[in-house]
């Protein structure tokens, strides 16, 4: 068990910066997902934690102790590779035993722990099979078991579920969560799949372009994104980010989303004071598709829009709207009857909407807790 701290950690390859000044404090026994699009630096971050990559700048600490220059074999981490890196020239049993054997554990002890781990990973019936003959799903379990058997204090997983078929992935997701609880280990998990990250992690570190964007609980990442990148990256379909002109009329704040001043949407108290504090005339208005409502009558809180496209996705209906230069998506119950070409009055669940600075991309907030 160990906490992991990254202080100003950077990694450069020649002129290319893979990770820029990363600060991350992962608590003991926490399950953290590092989430981001491909090439954002998430795997490099993980490789630096494991010691596979050297650090170009900054410090990495396990439980407060500086491990920046400790070679990977002495860091006490478990690592599950994306392609599993199973020793295919050995049997399942030999794979499981490898870590214990090279560490000089007694043979009796090895046998006991290998049997135990095979049992736990449901591989007992395959234990003497050559590991090259395993299915992808079994390889996955073997890869996790082989790392877990040496009881590392920190467990690192590099996109471990990306090669699995959908049904098994779901099961493996819950198995992983269970494994983490039963081993009570710090687990760091790299993925580009937000559903995995949201479902598994205690906290998610969202990365983009070598930089940490936000490190928070799944709930906060979803409902209070730090900036427009996180807002746009998390959620499917993602948050609508619309340019808004802010104007004050008769003491009330309005956001003009469609380029028609007369049809501007009246903001609530929270958004109004955020806009006032910021003072800018142009802001980015962010709202999730599910926070849209259809109103019968136009009023100060509604926006007139045209339905462009309707998609049925499971129980939900995704409706694409257009008004002026602006396009956005709403997600409704499938019973809502909207057809392409129809006009609709759209209102917003303003308590769940956000304003962002269009230049920095940062979410406007009134205090630390907002």
């Amino acid at each position: 068990m160990a906490s992991v701290t990254l202080e100003d950690t950077s990694k450069t390859f020649g002129d290319f910066t893979a990770v820029r000044n990363m600060n991350l404090a992962i608590k003991d026994a926490e399950f953290v997902a590092i989430l981001g699009p491909s090439g954002c630096g998430k795997s490099t971050t993980m490789n630096m934690i494991a010691g596979i990559e050297d650090v170009s700048g900054g410090t990495i600490r396990f439980d407060g102790a500086d491990v920046t220059n400790v070679p990977m074999q002495n860091r006490g981490v478990g690592f599950v590779f994306q392609n599993y890196a199973i020793f295919t020239h050995m049997s399942v049993r030999k794979n499981l035993a490898f870590g214990l054997e090279v560490q000089g554990v007694q043979q009796g002890e090895i046998n006991r722990r290998v049997e135990e781990m095979a049992e736990f990973m449901a591989l007992t019936h395959r234990i003497d099979a050559p590991s090259g003959s395993l299915s992808v799903n079994e390889l996955q379990k073997l890869a996790i078991g082989r790392s877990a058997i040496v009881e590392p204090s920190i467990f690192l997983l590099d996109e471990p579920l990306s090669n699995l078929d959908a049904a098994f992935r779901e099961r493996m997701r819950s198995d992983l969560r269970q494994l983490q609880r039963s081993l009570n280990q710090t687990m760091i998990y790299v993925t580009h799949d937000q559903i995995e990250a949201m479902g598994l992690a205690d906290r998610i570190a969202v990365m983009d372009q070598a930089t940490l964007q936000q490190f928070d609980t799944p709930e906060n990442i979803y409902s209070r994104p730090e900036n427009t990148f996180v807002a746009g990256f998390i959620g499917a379909p993602s948050m609508n980010l619309v340019r808004a002109r802010i104007a004050e009329r008769d003491g009330a704040m309005f956001a003009d989303l469609a380029g028609r001043e007369a049809d501007a949407v009246a903001l609530d108290d929270r958004l109004s004071s955020q806009a006032r504090t910021h003072g800018g005339a142009a802001l980015t208005f962010g709202f999730r598709p599910e926070h849209l409502r259809i109103s019968d009558q136009p009023d100060a809180g509604t926006l007139a829009a045209q339905v462009v496209l309707v998609e049925l996705v499971g129980r939900r209906k995704l409706v694409h709207f257009s008004t002026g230069q602006t396009r956005f998506v709403g997600s409704f119950d499938r019973t809502v009857s909207l057809r392409p070409g129809e006009a609709a009055n759209v209102s917003f669940d303003l308590g769940k909407c956000h304003l962002f600075d269009p230049n920095t991309g940062l979410r406007l907030r009134l205090g630390e807790d907002d």
Binding site: A50, Q73, R75, V77, F81, A85, I86, F87, F98, V102
Partner: protein, 315 residues
Amino acid sequence: MTDATSSHRIPPAEQETGKLAQSRRSLAIRLLIPAQVLLVFIVAFPLIMQVFISLTWWTPLDGDPWYLAWMSWNWFDNYTYLMQDEGLWGSVGRTLLFVAVAVPIEFLLGLTLAALFYEGVFGRPVLYSLILMPMMIVPAVAGYIFFLIFQQTGPLNTALSVFWPGALDVNWLNDTTRAFIAVVIADVWQWTPLMFLILFAGLMSVPEDQMRAATILGANWRQRFFRIALPRIKTVIAIAIGLRVIECFKIFDMLFVMTGGGPGVATESLSLFLYKRTFQDLEWSYVASIGITVLVALSVLTAVLMARVKKKDAS
């Protein structure tokens, strides 16, 4: 009944009958003929000629063309003679000894170099081309280089004299044991690079992730090398050793230049023995019988090995 069902399964395009099928077959035969004729000339004819000559006393010294060799027909006298020819079996034994000494040294040196390069050694690109250089040299030239090095007044003695009280003037190539050692050294010098090249390529093909996984699990350099890398390149090792055993067994040019097989017959390999019988003694029918014997022996050996491989694959 069966005919009816099977003809149903044939797609219409292949349902050729009578004339068309026959003309296709004859076209196929006509296309194959040139290759078959070539095969007869390069394989069958020489083979039959060899067998024929090996059953006679024929030698070009008689002045008769080879097809008149039947006049000195001797049935299997050549074959019975070769069974008890000490010169032949001595050369076979020496060649085997040479292979048994040189190839393991080449393998171990090559493997050590490959392992060093794999772990990343200082100045790798320069060393790489340097190490491969001996392999590029024509064996006869390499033989000549070592012929000069091992001379009584050669650079080796000069160099060793530094550590020797008085001047060292060993004649390396004049003593049976020393000549053998000198020849082994020359072969090792020339062919370790090939061993290194093949083994290094094999090591490079070991998945990096597996080596990393082993490292993270706590394996040290030795454990990674012997438990992951080596088992994974078993086939490559077999190919490298197999290649060198075959090549080494045929060694000729280097020995021919360095020692000419001497002193006496101390470094006379099988190839050198055959060369001498052919071009010094002109015993062509005897050489033909040796050639046929080697061919049969190798065919039997190959068949046995193949059968064993097949059996292994089946189980």
